[in-house]
Structure formats: structure tokens, C-alpha cells
Amino acid sequence: MVNFLQLLVLGLLAGGVYVGVGVGFGLVWGVLNIVNLAHGALVMVGGYLTWTLFTRLGLDPFLSLPLDALLLFTIGYLLQRGVINRVIRAPLLFTFLLTFGVNLVVINLLLLLFKSDFRSVTPSYAGAGLELGVLVIPFTRLGALVVALLLAAGLAFVLNRTRTGLAIQAVGADRDAAQLVGIDLRHTYALTFALGAACAGVAGGLITLIQAITPTAGEPYTLQAFVVVILGGLGRVTATVAGGLLFGLIEVFGQSIPGSGSVYANAIAFGLLVLVLILRPQGLMGRLR
């Protein structure tokens, strides 16, 4: 029972990172119809900024998160406006190719700047945690979960309660109608991508607290974000949150199967993904479009 509770906690904590990575990816996919293969690389850009600020200036990793968001927002805006916008109406394969290329460029720039060494952020409270009886909740992971949920809430607020957010949703719903009512398409596209990238930056900052990073460490997260968004359902922030937490739980419970069970944790997650696609293609909490 205790073990079950601990695993539940572990799963939710692990899910926090997936929520962080998933929300930005889901936004870009939902509105721009771009499966951004460079998302993981952008996550790592945020990670390296947090690492740099921590090692050079001793800035607490949680405090550097707004700066991650700001940097990535800028990069995202320019990237969309300058590069990705050129293929925005092209077939899916073109956007795949382009974002894959961006992925390679970003990773190799990071390699040039930071080399391939493993980098890690270890503030004084790393490894410390709440102990409730035998239950252990590490502070950094708890903090990461809380920030990820706040990030999702913030994104949901922007999308549902601000003019910009409503414009983004309008473009996502019907591009031509949105243009007819006077929404600047290119600017809105760029803003959407920038918001997605900003979320990636924050997720990257959180990841440095949890694992050692290298320029290529973001790649698995692109795949995981993809699964999270499909599990939850495209186009709604709350759905991505549910998908992320669920993915964390599946991973942790899968891994806890004794012997070689954990080898199949991914197989379980992807098996579920296929089931969802067959039985509920709009995702567990998604709307049909």
C-alpha cells in the first residue's frame, strides 16, 4: 500500500515534466497544425540558459524560469516569422522536414556552445524532500510539478481570457474567417509559436533540476510530448495536463513491474496510445474537430 502510494506520487511528479513539455507542443500542433520536431531542442535551449545562469551567477534555477520563457519566446517568434511561416500552408511533410532541420541546427549550435559534456544544476536543496512517514517527496520534483501546472494554468488563461489568446484560438478554428475579421495572421502564428517555445523553455529549466542535460537530451521529450498530446487530446490545455500526468503514472507503474517489466514501460505507453487512437481518436479529453 505504502509502495503504491509512493509510486502514485512518483508518477504524478514525473508527469509534471511531461505536462511542461506537452503544453507548448500541443499548442503549436493544435493551432498551427505543425508537429514541431524541434520542440525538444528548444527545451534544451531553456535548460542551458538555466544552467548557465546557475553556474555563472548562482541564480536559483526556479528564478531563471521567466528568463527561459522570455528568451525562448523571442527565439520562437523569430523562428516562426522568419523560417517556419514560409511552409505554413505546405503539406505536413514539409513542416516535418523543416522542423527536423531546425532541430539539427539547434542541437549542433548547442554542441558548439556547450560541448557534449553532461551538465547538471544542483542547488543546495537538490535531493532534499518532504518525508511523510515512509513517503518521500523531493522538493525539486514537487516544485517542477507545481510550476508545470501553473504554466498550464497561465497558458489556459492567456488562451481563454485575453484578446491575443482568443485570436490564436480563432486562427486555430478557422484561418480564413479569422483573417476576415481582421486578425493579423502572420503575427498571430508567430505569437502562437513563441508561446509554445516559451513553454518549452520553462520545461527545459525544470528538466535541469531533474536530470543531467546534454545538447541531445531533448530528443526523447519531443516523442513524449507527442504521446502526451495524443493521449490527452489536441487543442485543450487541460487535456494535455491530463495526458501528461497519465503518461507519468503509466511510466512509473510500468517500470515498477519486477524483473524486466520496466523494459516494457514504453511499450505499455505506446500500446495505450494506439488504443486511444482506435477507440477515441480525439484523445481522452479532446473535442472532435
Binding site: A14, S120, A126, I210, Q255, S262, N266
Partner: protein, 409 residues
């Protein structure tokens, strides 16, 4: 465009003329340059380890060219290494190996990084009958194929954590249980299975838990280890997983008397990433800067460490990936000298018969081509420094045991 390429051509011609000129004025009997080919993961997930491998190769290339080259029957042949980036993909590595042989016409092959790429490359070396000496593929699966042209200078995978088991059996209070975590790739499983088979003979019980190769979230596995409350926690994986497990062990208060990881702790990154949490961790190491062998040629351990510091300032001490890669070059050097020829077949035979002592230890291959003659050593990180703790005749300090609980450090 046209004018630029013609300018480049002229420059290239001038350069080659200039280079030829200096060689000519030297007046020594300089033979043709011997070219080695090596695909390495200069980008992708194995960039770190591949860079260390490249450093090891380059250290020797610099040294041998300072000597004028490899002395083959009285003629000194300078050497160079042609590298390609295999993007850390084993398939790509094999493609590039083939390209090195057929297009670049390299004379000999140096191994890539990692057991997976080495296995695919060994098949290419065999098909083309070009000798390959590799330093970074320890899985015995590579050497159980009956290949004749692949040689590995490092101790095979099954030896990686055996030393730690041997050492643990000498400690008091004697630990009795091992919780073995293992990634599910070939190499890691060989290491883990060897412990599972060997440790009971030393009085240990072993529980094996496998996880997906490349995992960064290993909290559930660490939780499983905690539930089993073992004396020893071992991991057979790579640097990435070793860091993840050590972090999770602290976060979830997994307190064991001994933590030992197959790969990872020997690299500077492990200490840089974990800070003081890296202390007390053991690993099985192919080589440490403290070992004392009596090399018959090339540099001694301390000269080697100095040469490394000079060429790569700020990189810390060379770890075993660097040293074993240099050792692969040394095997080629001696084999070429002994063969008195650059004929691939003759060099292969010379490699098969090779038996030399180097700063890396003895290099001698068994009938399968792997070096089963060199022992592994056990390292422990103490106060942020690597120390050799076992076997006792090469150790520089005693093991710090038992490992204190996380909240008592």
C-alpha cells in the same frame, strides 16, 4: 563561383607543394603515410564518449608523428586518422566504415564508440579483410562471431563489475545482498548477467531489475531497490543512467552500504554533474591514472597524464575511455613494427600474436580477439577525486566503507 573554386585549387596545389617540400628537405627515409579510418559519434547521444575516444587516438597520432612515424623495417611512416561523424548510429557507422575502406582507401580501422557500433563495424572489417582494433566495444557478443579481423584491447564486459564483487567480499561488515539494475542493451546485460552468475560464488544474493536503455526517469527502479533494502546497489548502464540513479537514490533516500556503477563514475562529468553526491560511488574501470604498469614502449602513466593535460587543458585527468583508445593505436603500432609490412593479412597475424605491456596494461588477445589478460581495477570517488581502491597491489587508497546515509554526509 567558378573563379572561387579555381582559387581554392591553386591554394590547395600550393599547400601540397609546400608540404611536400618540407618533407623532402628533411632528408630522412620517410615512407608513405599510413591512414587509419574511424567513424565516431561526434554528434548524437554518444558525443561525449566519442570525443574522449577521439582524444585518445589523437594523443597517439601526435606522439608518433613527433617520432617521425611508425618504424616499419627501417622506414618511418607518418600516420593520420580520417574521421567521420556517424551521428551515434550503429548503422551509419557501418556505412561509413565501408566508405572509409572503398572510397578513402584507408589502410587500417580504429573502432567507433560503443558495443553496438563496434558490432556492425566488425562485420564490415571482416568482409573487407581490413584489420580493426577497437577500444570501446566490450560486449563479448562482438567476439563470439568467429571474426578474424577485429581486436579489442579492453577487458570484456563480463569483467566490469567482477572486481567490485571481489572487493566487496573483502569488506567488513561483509555485505551480503546485491540489487542489480541494468539497462537492456547487449553490453549492459552482459555486465549484469556476469554479476548474477558470479556473485553467488562469493556469498552474495543478487536481484536483477532491467530498465529501458537511455532512461532518465529511474525513480520507480530506485524505489524497487529501496523496497528490497540491499547492502549493495549496482547499476549496469551508461553515464546518463548512472547520474539519474544517483540523483534518484538521494531524492528517495535509498541508503545502501555500497553503490557501484559499471560506466559513468570514471568520467569527469559524473563528478561535475553530481558534486559531492558523487562521493563514495565505486565503478569498475579499464584503467585509472594511478595504475602502475611497466610499459615497454610509448609513455608511462604519469607521462601520459601530463601529455593529456598539455593537449587538452582544463579537461581534467584522462579517463579510461581516452586511455583505451590510445591503447588501440599502440596495438597497431607494435603489430605494424612486428609485421614489418603494411599488408593487412600480415598485420592481422601480428595482432593475433601480439603480447606487449603498455601504460594501459598488458595487450594480448585471446583466440576470439578480445583482451582477457588485462585486469579491471575498482575506482572510488573520495572527496571529489578518483582513487583506485582495488586490487590492493595497484590501489592508492583504501575503500571508504560503508557509505554513510544521505542525511549524514
Amino acid at each position: 563561383m567558378r573563379s572561387r573554386s579555381s582559387v581554392l585549387l591553386v591554394v590547395a596545389a600550393l599547400l601540397s607543394f609546400a608540404c611536400g617540400g618540407t618533407a623532402g628537405t628533411g632528408g630522412t627515409s620517410t615512407g608513405a603515410t599510413i591512414t587509419f579510418g574511424a567513424p565516431l559519434g561526434l554528434t548524437g547521444s554518444l558525443t561525449k564518449e566519442s570525443t574522449l575516444t577521439q582524444q585518445g587516438y589523437d594523443l597517439w597520432v601526435d606522439w608518433i608523428n613527433q617520432q617521425g612515424g611508425i618504424n616499419i623495417d627501417g622506414v618511418k611512416h607518418p600516420v593520420k586518422v580520417k574521421y567521420y561523424d556517424d551521428t551515434s548510429s550503429a548503422n551509419q557507422s557501418a556505412v561509413l566504415m565501408q566508405k572509409l575502406i572503398t572510397e578513402d582507401k584507408v589502410n587500417f580501422l580504429l573502432g567507433p564508440y560503443g558495443s553496438a557500433a563496434t558490432a556492425t563495424d566488425a562485420a564490415i572489417a571482416e568482409q573487407n579483410q581490413v584489420p580493426m582494433v577497437e577500444a570501446n566495444g566490450a560486449a563479448q557478443a562482438i567476439f563470439n562471431q568467429g571474426y578474424k579481423y577485429t581486436f579489442g584491447v579492453l577487458s570484456p564486459a563480463n569483467k566490469y563489475l567482477q572486481g567490485v564483487v571481489d572487493m566487496a567480499a573483502t569488506l567488513t561488515p561483509k555485505p551480503t545482498s546485491i540489487f542489480m539494475l541494468s539497462a537492456d542493451d547487449n553490453f549492459s546485460l552482459e555486465v549484469a548477467n556476469a554479476v548474477r552468475d558470479y556473485a553467488p560464488s562469493k556469498g552474495f544474493t543478487v536481484t536483477l531489475q532491467k530498465y529501458k536503455n537511455g532512461s532518465t526517469n529511474l525513480a520507480a527502479e530506485v524505489q524497487a531497490a529501496k523496497a528490497a533494502n540491499p547492502d549493495i546497489v549496482m547499476n549496469s548502464g551508461h553515464l546518463l543512467e548512472a547520474i539519474a540513479i544517483n540523483k534518484a537514490a538521494k531524492e528517495y533516500k535509498l541508503n545502501s552500504k555500497l553503490f557501484a556503477y559499471s560506466v559513468g563514475p570514471s568520467t569527469p562529468d559524473f563528478i561535475n554533474s553530481l558534486g559531492k553526491d558523487a562521493n563514495y560511488v565505486y565503478d569498475g574501470s579499464q584503467w585509472t591514472p594511478q595504475v602502475k604498469y611497466k610499459p615497454s614502449f610509448y609513455l608511462t602513466e604519469s607521462q601520459y597524464v601530463d601529455a593529456y593535460h598539455k593537449k587538452y587543458p582544463g579537461a581534467g585527468d584522462p579517463d579510461y575511455h581516452v586511455a583505451e583508445s590510445t591503447a588501440a593505436c599502440l596495438a597497431f603500432q607494435k603489430a605494424l613494427e612486428n609485421a614489418k609490412s603494411t599488408d593487412p593479412k600480415k598485420v592481422r597475424d601480428a595482432l593475433a600474436k601480439l603480447d606487449v605491456m603498455t601504460f594501459f596494461g598488458q595487450i594480448k588477445f585471446d583466440s576470439r580477439g578480445i583482451n582477457t589478460y588485462k585486469p579491471m581495477v575498482v575506482e572510488q570517488i573520495q572527496n571529489g577525486q578518483h582513487h583506485t581502491v582495488f586490487p590492493t597491489d595497484v590501489a592508492d587508497v583504501k575503500p571508504m566503507y560503508p557509505t554513510p546515509a544521505w542525511d549524514q554526509r
